[in-house]
Symmetry: C2
Subunit: 334 residues, 2 copies
């Protein structure tokens, strides 16, 4: 391994001068710079970022704790985050975190002295929130947020849930199913609350047989599908708490030769890129301006990292329905 000392010796200068040539060349005389640069090239010297991190206590690395990218929502966000960070000259430690194994992911963050953390997988009462705050590590959550209501970028989840239900209600559906996730995630909790509120506003009694909680795995959604289709009285429309759930669900229905929306209406939330595909055309609820939450979040994170921005980030984007092809008036009323 060739170090800056080797370069220094070869160029006949001190190690400090080598360091200066690389970091503040304007403080070094031209001929010296040339000498050193020549030595660097001849020796194929590459500075060791680890050593630099150690002395500067700055890693130019951020940690991304993302949900799985088989969920297309995280495809869009991960891409935006990684690319933006790379452009800013930062590396990104990516982890795809399943909710049941958060802890391992967390410890890895702390051992590696990242300059910032961006995470989607936080729980409403997640202790990581206070740990990050206490350690003074800049961080931001996207999609989900912590109950302390700080440092997040989200869509208006309550209203998204509301709009999702309202959309089906306005079409005439009364037997509406909700497929959501655990209530300790802000997204699922608020979207569900919005859904419930819409039913209330439209004076439709909530049928608890139609309310499902999934861990969002393909298998779990398949099970719920089985359950729904075996019901005596079946829903005519389904509000899926996320596009990912909706997409899996679509797959289930199609594979059983059921037609969407003819046999059943399905609406998602998130407006992921894939939902726009001509073969999919998923009706969904998403941010009005179609911004990518990950992109918004990473920009804010860099504000915090570099500008020492102090004001707390709290961003909630407005939503609307993107009316595509997976919803229609209910079967019975046709």
């Amino acid at each position: 391994m060739v170090s800056s000392k080797d370069v220094a010796k070869k160029a006949g200068v001190s190690q400090t001068t080598v360091s200066r040539v690389l970091n503040t060349p304007e403080l070094v005389k031209k001929p010296t710079v040339d000498k050193v640069m020549r030595a660097i090239e001849e020796l194929n010297y590459i500075p060791n970022a680890n050593a630099r991190s150690l002395v500067q206590n700055k890693t130019r690395t951020i940690a991304l704790l993302s949900g799985p990218i088989h969920n297309p929502f995280f495809v869009d966000t991960t891409t935006a985050i990684v690319n933006y960070a790379n452009e800013m000259g930062y590396r990104v430690h990516v982890q795809y975190v399943s909710d049941d194994r958060l802890q391992e992911a967390y410890t890895s963050i702390f051992e590696n002295k990242v300059d910032g953390v961006i995470l989607s997988c936080i729980f409403l009462d997640d202790p990581i929130f206070f740990k990050l705050k206490q350690l003074n590590i800049p961080f931001i959550t996207y999609n989900r947020k912590h109950k302390n209501n700080e440092f997040f970028v989200e869509i208006d989840n309550f209203y998204a849930g509301y709009l999702s239900a309202q959309h089906l209600l306005e079409l005439g559906h009364t037997a509406i199913s909700w497929i959501g996730g655990p209530q300790n995630r802000s997204t699922f909790k608020e979207r569900y609350a919005g859904f419930v509120k819409a039913l209330e506003d439209y004076n439709i009694a909530r049928n608890d047989d139609f309310i499902f909680t999934t861990d969002t795995s393909k298998q779990s959604i398949q099970d719920i599908f089985q359950h729904i289709t075996s019901l005596d009285k079946q829903p005519t429309g389904i509000c899926a708490a996320t596009d990912s759930i909706a997409l899996h669900l679509l797959d289930c229905f199609i594979n059983k030769n059921l037609k969407v929306p003819e046999d059943i209406s399905i609406i998602g939330i998130d407006n992921v890129d894939l939902s726009k595909h001509g073969l999919i055309q998923l009706t969904t609820v998403g941010s009005i301006l179609e911004e990518n939450l990950g992109f918004l979040a990473i920009k804010e994170l860099f504000e915090m990292i570099e500008n020492k921005k102090n004001s707390c980030v709290r961003i909630t984007k407005s939503v609307k329905v993107f009316n595509r092809r997976t919803t229609s008036v209910p079967k019975q009323t046709i």
Copy 2:
């Protein structure tokens, strides 16, 4: 920042002992271990992985240079790679590399002393190949390979191209288009060669008006679509060099109210997860056993990193056609 020295002072031992408690506790007396562990907890001490890397010259980090995950192929591979590496206790630096900006990605690898590199984006004559070899960094390429024919995991690209064309030929297509990519990528080159060979074997003259090269961007594929549909004599079937291209193309056709396969047949290569979706059902060519190339590659990489495996990795998986719903007999013959 609390260091092992602070812990040592608090516990009344030397820093060395603290280090030993963490790394080789079997060499430390029980009561001492307890003392130190108590101090660690009280001080909330977390070892600094950077410092450790510096002295051990081992980072427990690997670099992943992947293609963009909007291409579903890389969704599957990236997930497999990141998860496997994390399970092995390694961190993963992820970069999504566009072919035109490879160099920046490469320099970042070298500055950060990773223990291994796994990359999909290599060119046939890429100089990175020799650099990695020279620096003795364990590496492996998946999907694409270098012309030196070493350290790769791929599918049988030639035969995949062949099967793709053969599938359409057997259905009776004679006007077959190829949409591929630059020939300095092993995948595109070999798949195309297989395509050409199939046409030859079936005595179908190649129509150069039907051969297209895309940078795989959505826009570029859209342009090709426009071009094809404006042709006087149009192809009845399209061999897309990748599922990603095929999926974009499907979107284009559907959005113009053209039906697949009724109006045109489309076959891809890669057999990505998404191609199986009920609403998509893309006919494609892929690995017989449906292994994930990324997973195969990362396992091999760890063999190299940890077991100092010496034999060069050269894996080429056999392929077959996955016959789904996007191909049929050509329009004219119906």
